[in-house]
């Protein structure tokens, strides 16, 4: 299951989507929005995606995972739009016969998503808002 959604992510549903009787190990990564950033209180967050490309890049991650590790099922769901503090913005689940594969594949998937998938986060503070991406600040001209 590869998806970009505008509603809260149901972790139980993502888990169910990777459960198979042959799998003994499932690793699930849940990325949640934090209430602070660069020392300031974050009130809420908003995610924007270049959706058709983001979905393609997410599929590439699944393909890469499957070429490197013997995984049974793979799921990756990203939420976009406004996301409240403490809510899940990303859920990745991997089922495998052995736990090492599940852990490594899941870790690889979130690392690669954060580097390659065209999705952007905007943090909304009491005194303004900012797109995250240039290591948290705009580059100097």
């Amino acid at each position: 299951m590869i998806n970009i959604v505008r509603h809260p992510i149901d972790v139980q549903e993502v888990l169910r989507s990777v459960q198979v009787p042959e799998a003994g190990a499932i690793d699930i990564f849940v990325g949640t929005t934090r209430n602070h950033s660069s020392g300031k209180e974050v009130l809420s967050l908003e995610y924007e995606a270049y959706e058709p490309m983001a979905l393609k890049e997410m599929e590439k991650i699944e393909n890469k995972v499957r070429s490197r590790w013997a995984v049974h099922r793979f799921a990756m769901v990203h939420r976009v739009g406004r996301v409240g503090i403490g809510e899940a913005s990303i859920v990745i689940a991997v089922s495998a016969s052995h736990r090492r594969e599940a852990f490594e594949a899941c870790h690889y998937a979130i690392d690669t998503l954060k580097r390659e998938v065209p999705i952007w986060k905007r943090e909304i503070f009491a005194d303004g808002e900012m797109w995250v991406g240039f290591q948290g600040e705009e580059p100097q001209e």
Binding site: Y50, K56, I119, F134, Q135, P139, E141
Partner: protein
């Protein structure tokens, strides 16, 4: 001449003030020409240029990629999903 659709996201969208624009380029133009054009129109973009990636038809592309009429070129600032 060819026409390409250029799409903007996040910081770049805020700077340009639009989701997308149409751009006419000479036949044989490479993807990097799009950034040249934008840097002329929006001088602040030139300072960010080394941080920007390009995508053509929803796939990352090098600046040396040959553009075709009707291509969708996206300017991809550093991503921050997850």
């Amino acid at each position: 001449m060819i026409t390409v659709n250029v799409r903007f996201f996040a910081t770049v969208k805020d700077l340009v003030g639009a989701d997308e624009i149409e751009l006419m380029l000479e036949e044989g133009a490479l993807a990097s020409r799009v950034l040249d054009h934008l840097a002329e129109r929006y001088p602040r973009l030139s300072g960010w240029r080394k941080h920007l990636r390009l995508a053509v038809n929803s796939e990352y592309a090098e600046g040396t990629r040959l553009l075709q009429d009707g291509d969708e070129v996206a300017i991809i600032p550093p991503v921050s999903g997850g």
